[in-house]
Each structure stands twice: as C-alpha cells, then as structure tokens.
Symmetry: C2
C-alpha cells in the first residue's frame, strides 16, 4: 500500500493553490488516511509566472492542461479550472478516457455534462467525484449519496450560494438596498465583478441539478431548473417579511412528486427561527428529507480556498483508496429521466404585496380578485398611511397558476399603483 | 457484481426491526447503490416468539447470537444488541475473527473496547463500522472521518443525547422542574425507566469518546471523559441563562490542546442564537472545526428506529461495496495515546449563581473572593428582593481551578445561604 497516489492539478487559482497547500501541510496525515502517500506529480495553469503563495518547484508543469490526462505519472486529475465547456470539459473527458480518476469542483460542468461524464467514468472504472461542486466545504455529496443512502429522499433543499445569502442578510441587518450591499460584497470579494451567475441564481441552479440527480437517482436536468435571482428583492419586502416572522432566502429546492421532479431556485420566505431562516452571511446549508431518517441539516462554509480544497482532498483520499462508486450513487444507465413537474401545479402559501391607492373599496377589489381565483387569505397587514399604501397578504396554500392569475388581475386594476410582488412561502 | 451481500442481524428490538424494514422496503434501491443485492440470511434475538411487526419467515433463526459469527452464509454481522460486554462483545469479536464485516450501533462497546476491536478488524481485513453509534441518523462518522478528512480538527462537540436535550428544552418551554419533565419524557418514551445512562451523561460520553478518536487519530479513551449529567440543572438557572442570552445544553466537547486531549460532557451555557443554543427537543447536532474547512454543523434525529436503521444500512452499503477503511480512519497501530488535559487548566468564562443573605456588604464579599482568585467579572445581575436574594455573575475567561477555589471560598461565607452554582459558558 505504499505506492504513492499522484495528482495532476489543473488550475492554480484560489482553489488549486489551496489543494497544494493541504497536500504540503498534511502529507503524513493524508498518507495515514489514504493508506498511501498522496503526491502532486504535475500542475497546469494559464500563467506560469504568477506568484500563488505556494512552492510549485517540485512539480512538473504543463502549459496545455489537457496533457495532464495523458501523463503516465498522474493517477488522478484534479480539475479546478471552471467553466462548463472549453478546457475543463476536454480535460475531464480525456482523463476519464485514459483511465484517470477525476476530482472536480466544477458545478457548471457537472450540471451540463454530468450524465455523459458519469457514463464515461463508469465505463473506465474510475471515480468521478465532485464533493467540492456543491456547498463548498460541507460534505453534502457524501452525506446525501452515502450517509443517507438507505432512504428514499423526498426533498433536498437549502441555501447554496453564499453571495446571495450575504447580500440578503446584510440588507436585513443594515436596512440597505440591494445595489449598495452588492457593491460592498464586491469590495469584500464575496461577489464577482460580473455577479450575474451568483445573484441570478445560475450558480445555485447548477448545484441543485447535481444534488437532485444524486438524491433521487435521476439524470441531471439543469435545463429543468426554474431559476429566478435576487435582483428584484427589495428592502421593503425583507422588512415586511421579518415583521411577519420570515426571512427571505434564495432557496434551491428539489422535490420528487408522483407527477414529476420539481427543481427551482427562487427567493422564498422561510420562518426566521428555522435553521435555514436563521442562516447569516456566506454560510451555506443543505437539508435532506428521507423516509427513514427524517430530516438532516448540514451547514458550513460554502466557498473559499480552504473549504473547497478540503472537499477536493476528501475525494482524493477516497480515490487513493481505490473507492470507485458510480458518480451519482447508482449506475449511470439506471438513472431515470424524470418528467419535469408542471410548475403551475405547485401548491404553497404566498406572500403578496400590493401598493394601493388610498381610496375606499381598494382592499375589497383585491380580496375579490383573489377570491375569484380561489385564493384564500390567511392574514393581512396594511402599513402606514402613505399613498400608495402597502398592503401585504399571506395566503393559504394555493396553486402557483391561481396566484399568477390573481396577481395579473390585480396588477391591471386602477387601484394598483405599482407592480405587485409575489413570493412563495416555503415550509422548511 | 450480482453475488448477494448477506446480513446476520443480532438483536431484533426497535433498531433491528428497523433494519429489516429498510431491507424489505428498499431492496431494489439498495442493490443499485451497493452494486449487489443486500439480503438478510439469519437473525437472532432473545425471544423468538415476540411479534416485532416485521415478517422474519424467510430468514434462518439462531437462538445463540454468537452463532451468527460462524455461519458461512453471513458476510456481515449487524450488531444491535447493546451493552459494552456480554453477548455483543463476544459476537463482534468472533465475527471479526471469522472474517465477517461488522456494523454496530453499540456506542458502549466501541467506547470501551473500540481500540482492540479496530485492531482485530484491521488484522482480518474487514470493516468495523459504527455510524449508528454516534448521533443516530446524522451521518457524522462519515462526515468527520471521510468528508473532513483533509483537516486537522481542533474541536468536535455538540448535543449528542436527545433525552437530555428534550428535558432541558421542555423545562425552558414549560417553566417546569427537572423531575416533572423527566416523568413526562418517560411517559413519551424519550427516557428509559432507569434514565441514569442518559441524564447522567454516560451515553453522550460514550459517543464523544468514539468521535474524538476518529477526529483526532487518538486511541479511544472513554475513562478520560469528565462527565456530569443534567440532574442538578434547575429551572432557575435555565431562566436566568435565558435572560442573559444563553441556553443550557448538555454539551459533549472534545478538543485537542498542545498539552493534551480535553474530553468532557457537562451542562454548559451557549449563546441561544447559535445552532447549538437553538436546538430543541430530541434533535442532535454535532459541530466539527478544522484548519482548512472552518466550522461545519450537522444536525438531525439522534435516535429512533428509522434514523438508527438508516445509519446502519449506510454502513452496510459501504461494506457490500467491499470498502474497508480502518475503523477510526487511520491504522489502529498509529492511533496516539494522547495525554489527558488537566481540567483545572481549562480556561472559559463562567456563569455563577449565589444565594445571598440580603445584608449590606454581601456583594462586596463575593467580589473580594473572586478577586482573590484572579477571577474578573464581566457582568452581574441581582434578581428580586427576596431573602436570600439570587445574584448572578458572568465572569471573564478564568481557569477552572480559580473558579472552583473562589466558589468554595464563597460557599463558606456566612452570607452564602445555599450552595453556589457554577456553569461553564462555551463559545460555540
């Protein structure tokens, strides 16, 4: 068992440098846990000259990242380049074809090409592991795929994007507007210069698609994720939510119904005293619900150098132990192409906010429009004396279609002064 | 890969019946995840006639549980008898000696004999797995041993006994005394008729000793766990704690210091807004802190038929895949016999409650006694106008020895009417 397990690291940004740091810092411990030494054979990145704060002198260098897939001295390719196509995809495909294990942090790649890559890994008899792709340092892939493997899971959900959670919780804490907090998040390095992948919900949707496949034994269906970002969440809604006992979170939810698989990333209201509702800052949390275990919650750092590299090395140790499972926990050929749930049928309570002209009968018109679609009111609050005056309604359970129809009808009323807001209330 | 993986189930109480239920309910899914069918070959329990709500007709029966270790048609023994010695220990030892994998939910067995059993499993080249022994259905053994394996862990801690957490949170919720809530917990089945293992902290200490060995690569040292139960926690202290922003929890904490391993199970105060502080009812939560990942929190059901059986089946699937790791993540021979921390050196803030005669100068005497031991006061509250009058002090960080000396000195003062209370405040 003393043959070393040799890594080829593709990408030397923050995460790649973190992987190097762990291998260098914890060599003895990793050897003890992996049953053999874990070594770095070769590395590759765009810019050879850049100072990354780690000593790379002992490792071979490849200018062409895909060459890592061909090196005889590499047992496992660690892919931390990113991007769903281009060099990352080429490298991973070639590595699998050449019988190398692959450990990747690339959620976009797995969300878009996970099915074909899982198939390729299985044919090659190697591991394709992606703990770092979902919820950073929290070992949720292992927990959902292995730890809870005895269960038929009904729902997996959570806060899977730290940037969005930071922005939403800062807005609440500082009573600040979205734009101001986004600027601060960019300054702190919590948001990219182009933040659209994060704030638009795409990043969370990638993670959700991958997690859902693992949880339900379905084929990855990223295009089936209904996605809405946090760009239109206002401070007013955050404060009203709080007043009603809720927090607004960008929630990624996958639920298996008899009629199909529901996958959505969308701002939702959740009770503020729950684990998800109480989550502050860049922390992530993932919840899994199973038929025998009940509900388990996993929370921790969802991004960053140390956490992401920690997840990668966990996968490396498993691969070094020659542990090869199907990428999504079950044979790729057996993964089910689940029908997509018709989202209009989703039942849920909703939070609705209307800005009404301060005029007698205005409220009656709102109530009538809701009643006409069969939407019943759980509680209602009217705030202040302004004109227009904000009126907030929490509905009972109603189908999304009925909510949409009622909101459209109300938006068209002369008393509705500003476009209404509808936010789903999620039971967590 | 279609050779079935055959279980011998030892013990058919709640948990054993749960294991049978999962195998019967999810046969196809388990086969898909394990890569081969998972079957029950034989079962054993004390009383063959008892109705357990599951159909056992297809399985061989053994009156003598240790016979499961000798059956050629058993690949893996599932031990859910319980007890640190007696038949459980005999069975597990014999099963390992006969080259059978062992999956156990037995924390007492692992806490007292884990070192020798890990050694035996390694010599036999089989798995000895115990996910179900710590925190029930929450996959913390997998998370700490595998998911966070890249990290040098500094502290693992949490609420690992649901009975105690139920009692403490019910006392707070209902403003009820310990005895009343214990009676109710017994009625609900959350506490045993003889509750001493749970309320005395022994059960949590078993779990902590096992988890610490896995986290730190140390030999299991159950006798090194300093243990104090919840029997002396009063409603008065719970209410005062709450008033100061704390919850009282039975906290199991293992921390690696340069000078030794600290292991303790003791009622502590924790900030009520933290994951641990907010934990209600029978739920468990385990926190792990590592040098690269930071802090991860795992919470969920810590006991019960479904959750415990779920954890057992997760181990069974790994064993069916022929995944054999050292029981404590590192070779048994390399586990370190860490020195025990001298607990008097532990630094922490403390909550102190004194019942003082309502007499001029009483407070000055308390302050002087604390000052004499170098204990400084962070904040102080005096409640009501009674005689004796409760005075509560939160200290700054102080060594346990200094707190003990100051409390002893104060207890001896004529103004101190009732024995003082000292509860550690834990940063979580």
């Amino acid at each position: 068992m003393s043959t070393p397990f040799r890594l080829g690291i593709a990408g030397l940004g923050t995460v790649g440098a973190g992987v190097v740091k762990i291998v260098q810092a914890h060599g003895d411990m990793l050897a003890s846990k992996a049953g053999r030494p874990v070594e770095i054979a070769a590395v590759s990145a765009m810019n050879r000259g850049r100072n990354r704060g780690v000593d790379l002198a002992g490792y071979a260098w490849e200018d062409d990242v895909t060459r890592l897939a061909h090196r005889a001295d590499v047992d496992c390719v660690v892919e931390v380049i990113g991007g769903s196509d281009g060099p990352a995809r080429a490298l991973v495909s070639q590595a699998l074809a050449h019988g190398k294990h692959v450990v990747t942090a690339n959620k976009a790649l797995m969300a878009r090409h996970g099915n074909e890559l899982a198939d390729a890994a299985e044919k090659a008899g190697v591991a394709l592991s992606f703990e770092a792709a979902v919820a950073g340092g929290i070992p949720v892939i292992k927990a959902v795929g292995e730890g809870l493997a005895a269960n038929r899971l009904s729902r997996v959900y959570g806060v899977m994007n730290g940037t969005c959670n930071f922005i939403l919780s800062e807005m609440e804490k500082r009573k600040a507007d979205y734009g101001d907090v986004l600027t601060e998040a960019q300054r702190l390095g919590y948001a990219e210069t182009d933040p659209s992948f994060d704030v638009g919900g795409i990043d969370a949707a990638h993670k959700l698609a991958v997690l859902a496949a693992l949880a339900f034994g379905t084929r990855v269906d990223f295009d089936g994720v209904v996605t809405e970002g946090i760009e239109r969440v206002t401070l007013a809604d955050i404060e009203t939510a709080r007043d009603m006992g809720y927090s607004i979170k960008l929630l990624a939810v996958a639920r298996m119904h008899e009629t199909g698989l529901e996958q959505r990333v969308r701002p939702c209201m959740v009770a503020e005293t729950t684990e998800i509702g109480a989550l502050k800052g860049v922390t992530n949390a993932v919840v899994a619900e199973g038929d025998f275990v009940g509900k388990c919650v996993f929370s921790g750092p969802g991004a960053g150098q140390g956490p992401t590299a920690s997840a990668i090395i966990a996968d490396v140790i498993d691969a070094a132990r020659s542990i090869v499972r199907p990428a999504f926990g079950r044979p790729a050929a057996g993964l089910v192409a689940a029908p997509r749930l018709q989202h209009g049928d989703e039942h849920s309570p909703y939070y609705l906010r209307f800005m009404l002209a301060d005029r007698p009968g205005a409220l009656a018109q709102i109530a009538a429009a809701l009643g006409a679609e069969g939407v019943s009111i759980h509680r209602m609050r009217q705030y202040g004396q302004g004109d227009p005056v904000p009126v907030v309604i929490e509905t009972h359970d109603a189908p999304r279609d009925a909510i949409d129809a009622a909101v459209a009808a109300i938006a068209a009323l002369p008393v509705s002064m500003i476009a209404p807001v509808a936010i789903r209330i999620e039971e967590v």
